[in-house]
Each structure stands twice: as C-alpha cells, then as structure tokens.
Amino acid sequence: MAAATKEQIEERMTEALVSFGAERDDVKRDADWESLDVDSLDLVELAQIVEEEYGVKMKEEDMKEMKTVGDAVDFVAERAGS
C-alpha cells in the first residue's frame, strides 16, 4: 500500500464525511463530530473506509478518543503506510 500524505488522508476523510451528509465548508480540522451531525454509525463507516484504503484499524476505544476531524486524520496519518 502506497504511503499517503496527511493532506491526502484529510481530503479522503473530508470526502467521506461529505458523502455522509456533512456540509463541505463545515468539515475542518477542529470540527467535532456533533457539529457535523456525525454519529456512531457514521464513525463505523469511516473506520471501514480507513481500514480498506489505508490498512489502519480504528477500534471503538480509539474512536472514543477522537473528538474532531483533526484527531481522526492524525490517528490515521501516524499509522498509515508505516
């Protein structure tokens, strides 16, 4: 699997969140899930995308620690391609 840059990961996650129904302009690093109307089902879907595309597992306990888009992007970027 080719290593992805943090920017690429952020773009892919933004695209996923927009496809879940979030407004593109609202998806920023410091945006929290509630403000994007992202719930536990969306996070499971996001985890599936991340695992399939970057080979990074986001477990339930990991997701509990992620409060914002930036938290999730950083989590994946740290582990992707490593």
């Binding site: 496809s19 879940f20 129904g21 109307d37 089902l41 499971v44 879907e45 599936q48 695992e51 399939e52």
Partner: protein, 399 residues
C-alpha cells in the same frame, strides 16, 4: 363503545406520481403508470425530498415511506408543533419484504469484498420495521410504533392496527400505511420463477386474458385520528375508516382458497365492524391482482359476503394502473378509496375488456363512474390478500 376513526391526512408515492392527488386524478382518468412491464415510481427522486444523510441511511422503501407519510402528516397539520400529544400518536407501516435492495447490495459487497466491508448501515436499512421507526423519528411520534409483515396484505394490516389503536383509545392519532421497493433482480427472478408475474407485462385484473401480476413499488399512508380529536382541533375530516376485518385462509403457501372463504369472512367482519350490510356498500376497491387464481377467488368471496348485492356494486382494481405494489398495496388502495369516495367516483379497471366465466361482476370498464350514495355518505370496502393466506379488509366512508 369504540371511538370513530377519521382520516385527516392522505399521502402517496406511486407509479402515477408523487402525491395523493396525482394518484386519484390519473387513475380516474384511466391512465397507467406501468412501463416496460413494471410499475416504477419514476417521478420519485429521493434527493428532491430528503437530505443526503436521511436518504443514504434509508432503503428505498423507507425513502418512499418518508415522503408519503410526510405528505399525509403535513395535510393533517403536523408541519410545525404536533397538533396531537406525541405520546398519543402512533406509527405503523407495513411491508412485504422490507429493505430487499439493501440486502442484495450488501450480499454483493460480502461476496466481492469480504465480511469486513459490509455496511454498518445494512441492518437498520434492511429491517422491515425501518419505515415506521424512521418516520416516527422524523416527526417525533412517540406512541405505539412497529411494522406489519403479511406480504401483500401488510399495508391493510397496518391500517387495521392503526384503526384499532384509535378506536380503543391507545392513541389519539396514528399514521399508518405501507411501503414496498422490491423491483430488484432477485425479487424479479423469484416472482417470475414461481409463475406469479405476467409474461406479457400487462396488468389486466379480472380480464379473461390476465396472465399474472405486474410488479410495482409505492408507499402510502393515512393519518387516522379519533373524530373527537379532529373536531376539537378543527382539522378537516377527509373520510372515515369505519370497519376492519382480518382472517387467514390456513390453506396454501401462495394460492388463495378457491372458494374465497377466508376473504369473504374478512369482508363480513369488516362490514360487521362498520355496522353496514351489503346494501350499504357502494363500491369495492378490489385486491384484483391480475392472477388467474386471485381474481376468480376474490370474485367468489365478494359473492359470498355480499350476496346478490355483489352484482350491483362496481368493483375496480387499482393494480390495473400501477401493478402490484405488495406490502404497499393495501395502503395505496385505502388512500385511493378515501380519495375516490371524496370525489364520488369509482375509477375504472384500466384495460378491462374480456369477460371471464370466473369473473362475472361489474369491473368498471372504460372510464370512471359516478357513485350514488342514495342520500347517505358513500361507503366502500378495500380488499387486501397476501401470500401465506392473509386477508385484511377495510370499510371506509366518505366524510
């Protein structure tokens, strides 16, 4: 003493368009929504009515339900503050299969990409009770809420459940109906291989040339409300559901009892519930599927339940215009019945031409016919029967 059940809202999405008015106008004009052998809701675009989030989390049968129930509830006055205590407002939606499109899509994901790729939304989208749950969530309805599953009688059973809820005071209002979106490759193959669907692709209920049903999709709902509640808040009463009867054939997995016994008992129960005799029935909105067996046994059932009067009453089948919408059918037909009684017309069995020995009633060929109530409000029955031997009949009255 049970309470009288008024209809204060009607909604429908059908092959004849988005909206209940289009359904009755176009059916009454003898139009058909069937194209290329299927009754699709071609004019329905989920994105026009639902947010991205709502649409992607809902199977098509739930999407159709949201729009049909939204129309009915809006007409009944649910746009702003709920006009009836949410805790005393129910929601019951019937379906034959539920989210079969989701099941088929996700099975493909499972086989092609493995178990880990199956969507976390698969269960909440495919479950047969999704329509009722999602509609209740969207409108904040907090009374009894569930789905009914009885093949092609599911929509009528849902309405029957809603009627009892209101009659007996378990709720003051209930949005009830049915939905189906099963025009999928698997369902098409399965129905075709059991010999149920029409090889010619023409829906011709009660006609000698009928050769099976045409598959359709739809959703419809009625807001049922105690007459007292409707009057108190000044809601317009669009009609009444005065009776409900349901039975089982206990005969065969798919074939109706040839004598029509189960169906005729359901009709008799609905009429008894409504305290109406055969002479009080002005129109029959038939199940009329266009299968050889149903249309003959339904004709028998009508003769058994209504006696000589059966020969004087016009009998129409909406399936001639939209095909068989399975779990939605009972609800779409009840919606159409309420609307037809309001207009005082029996819409036609579209395309009926050739009399069959086993179907010898008046099936309203050609064009819509004015109904005469003889000085009292018009009254009709709406029949629904399902694979498994389920029979459900509603008796309805004009306002």
């Amino acid at each position: 003493m049970t309470r009288r059940v008024a209809i204060t809202g009607i909604g429908a999405v059908t092959p004849l368009g988005v909206g209940a008015d289009g359904l009755i106008e176009r059916w009454s004009a003898g139009e058909s929504g069937i194209e290329d052998g299927f009754g699709r809701c071609r004019e329905f675009d989920p994105e026009e009515h639902l947010s991205i989030k709502t649409a992607r989390r809902a199977d098509r049968f739930t999407q159709l339900s949201l729009v049909a129930c939204g129309e009915a509830l809006s007409q009944a006055g649910w746009d702003d503050e709920p006009p009836v205590d949410p805790g005393r407002t129910g929601c019951v939606m019937g379906t034959g299969i539920g989210g079969i499109g989701t099941i088929e899509d996700q099975l493909e994901v499972l086989r092609e990409r493995g178990a880990e790729a199956v969507s976390a939304l698969a269960v909440p989208m495919m479950m047969a009770n999704a329509a009722s749950g999602v509609v209740a969530m969207r409108h904040g309805l907090k009374g009894q809420c569930y789905g009914t599953v009885s093949a092609c009688a599911a929509g009528a059973h849902a309405l029957g459940a809603g009627v009892r809820m209101v009659q007996h005071g378990d709720a003051d209002a209930c949005v009830a109906g049915g939905a189906e979106a099963g025009l999928t490759p698997f369902a098409q193959a399965a129905f075709a291989n059991m010999g149920a669907t029409s090889p010619s692709g023409v829906s011709r209920p009660f006609d000698a040339r009928r050769d099976g049903f045409v598959m359709g999709e739809a959703a419809a709902a009625l807001v049922l409300e105690s007459e007292e509640s409707a009057r108190e808040r000044g809601a317009e009463v669009l009609g009444y559901v005065t009776g409900y009867g349901a039975t089982a054939d206990a005969h065969h997995l798919t074939a109706p009892e040839p004598s029509g016994d189960g169906a005729s008992r359901a009709i008799e129960l609905a009429l008894a519930d409504a305290e109406v005799g055969p002479d009080g029935v002005d129109w029959v909105n038939a199940h009329g599927t266009s299968t050889s067996l149903n249309d003959a046994s339904e004709t028998e059932a009508l003769k058994q339940a209504l006696g000589e009067r059966a020969r004087e009453i016009p009998v129409s089948s909406l399936k001639s215009a939209i095909g068989h919408t399975f779990g939605a059918a009972g609800a779409v037909e009840a919606a159409a019945t309420a609307l037809a009684l309001r207009r005082g017309v029996a819409p036609p069995t579209v395309g009926w031409e050739e009399r069959d020995e086993s179907c010898d009633l008046d099936y309203v060929p050609g064009e819509a016919r004015a109904l005469e109530g003889n000085g009292r409000p018009l009254c009709a029955i709406s029949n629904s029967f399902g694979f498994g031997g389920h029979n459900a009949v509603l008796c309805m009255e004009a306002a």
